[in-house]
Symmetry: C2
Subunit: 348 residues, 2 copies
């Protein structure tokens, strides 16, 4: 079967490897229906040292269950399933508290030797990791849109939703979203879903911010730095924002967030921080700013999100603007890296 | 009348100055019943450059209303009142959202030229700043304990309560409190009030941690650094804490908090940070740690807290271990600085 590997910065190859098989009784094997490239896959694409063995790539997948281990009880052969981008038992103390990415027995795809940009994948802890989509077949009941939206529940949309949830976005609030990548746009949609009244999207790519407006952004600010801060305040009639979602991960974006958050407000981060230290003394302390967010425990939201997507209440799959065969994964990475594509879907 | 001023590091003097009078129609004049020295008063006591004019000191007071401006309607001559340590209108957007320390028209005592370690004080924005204590006279109905507990509502107890509230302490949780000063001990009592099941107090002064146990600490850890972290985990059967209240303000205390907080947990800070930058990248991000807290909007909690204190449900005034005449304020500062006193009450 075909699977994507990265051998170093800028070096993605699709290779033929043996199909996976059940190893643990808690495993399931799924046949991939759709997979995709994540913005976070671009970090190693920029910086990975050369490797002889290569790293299996991909952590987002929609698939059909082919086979289950003897201990798997919640998904069955033939089910269309969404996998979260981490695997977990969904029963340990951290899972029960809603923080599945810290599961005592779980881990991250890729790191575990399983990449989800592949024709077939072995899913560890299948009961805790896969959620079946009832009454939808692998054609999305004939809707490519539905497949795309279901695929976003594997990571990108629910990462945006996590940002809004951790930010405690409430009805009537002003939310600023920093970053017009697929996660930032997802955070706009999620903030709208949670009732935000004014949503200010900070981004410079018109094609992306246009989609942001369709997702619910009431204002778009292209400027950055002090200018950007001034424009965000202006957009809200001089008021700072109750919640600022930082979907970039670089220090200037964090500083931007500090500049627009109101006293008692929340900075919710879902861009993986590319910094270790940052300012958190005054004025943040004096103004009671909360800093929250983190790697999204997608599994926590899956059961609730699937029916919304199936019913068409939300259509987060619109973040996919390009679709390619899995065999062209190298071109998919290059297109996202060159910002020619917002997010590329891979079809086996 | 007598009032305390600081003229430089270690140099506190009680001087005779004219009694204050109404300046704005929103002012009230109160006669001090009890005042006190705050741990935060020790920062300038260590570092204040010499000054010819001196700074008026004190921001905590329990008093009796002597006179009100023409626009004051909620407190009346003869009322026993608690003042919050900031003044505010209690009507602006930030006050309505519960963050009175960021009031658009408010400010901090001391900075405004009014110190509350004085026989009489002018309270700006009296309707937003003072809360009357019904059915209690200036003798605490004969109870010095009641006066002490009411005085803590001006700052120290409600600062601890704010820490627990921002940390979202819930029934059944494990809370670690770092710091055995009066704020840390108050945070222990507040965490107990909010239903925490296990409260681990980190502190090295046995007389203080003994009071912490009476306030509700289930465990005391005297060690610091890696040893301290190990002992905190041990106390909770290996589990990390849902909420860590950092009531010190120095970087090692923050690092201690990072070491004991569990995935998805909260670090709530009420020690004024003596650092500008701190680690907030991974692992905090990956583990979804929330950092919150800040200068306490005491006014938000006053209406609810006063009846609890009057009813004797809580007795936070036990943090006062020494009482001195206002005229001996210099000795009060020295005693707290030398850690001979936990918190000193000043009697006019």
């Amino acid at each position: 079967m075909k699977a994507a590997f990265m051998y170093g910065a800028g070096d993605v190859r699709v290779e033929s490897i043996p199909e996976p098989s059940i190893v643990e009784p808690t495993d399931a094997i799924i046949r991939t229906v759709r997979s995709c490239v994540c913005g976070s896959d671009l970090h190693p694409y920029h910086s990975m040292p050369d490797s002889e063995s290569g790293s299996p790539m991909g952590h987002e997948v929609l698939g059909v269950v082919e086979e289950t281990g003897s201990a798997v009880s919640t998904v069955h052969t033939g089910d269309l399933v969404v996998s979260s981008f981490t695997y977990q038992d969904n029963t340990c103390v951290h899972c029960r508290e809603g923080f599945h990415v810290s599961c005592l027995h779980g881990g991250f795809f890729g790191a575990v030797g399983v990449g989800l940009q592949a024709e077939y994948v072995r899913i560890p802890l299948a009961d805790g990791t896969l959620v079946a989509v009832p009454d939808v077949d692998e054609t999305g009941n004939g809707s490519e849109e539905l497949l795309a939206s279901l695929l976003t529940l594997s990571d990108v949309y629910l990462t945006g939703f996590h940002a809004a949830t951790m930010g405690r976005v409430q009805s009537g609030q002003t939310v600023t979203v920093i970053g017009d990548g697929a996660v930032g746009l997802s955070a706009v949609l999620a903030s709208r879903q949670l009732g935000a009244e004014r949503i200010i999207l900070m981004g410079r790519h018109t094609d992306r911010t246009d989609l942001g407006r369709e997702f619910g952004a009431t204002d778009v600010v292209a400027e950055r730095g002090e200018d950007g801060i001034a424009r965000v305040l202006e957009a809200a009639g001089g008021d700072r924002s109750h919640v600022v979602i930082e979907a970039v991960g670089h220090l200037p974006a964090y500083e931007q967030a500090m500049g627009v958050v109101r006293p008692g407000g929340v900075i919710s981060r879902v861009g993986v921080p590319q910094y270790k230290e940052a300012p958190i003394g005054n004025p943040l302390f004096r103004e009671n700013i909360t800093i929250t967010g983190g790697t999204a425990p997608v599994r926590r939201y899956l059961d609730q999100a699937i029916p919304h997507v199936v019913a068409g209440t939300i259509n987060p799959g619109r973040v996919f603007d390009v679709s390619m065969p899995l065999s062209e994964a190298a071109a998919a990475y290059a297109a996202m890296d060159a910002r020619e594509a917002l997010k590329v879907m891979l079809v086996p």
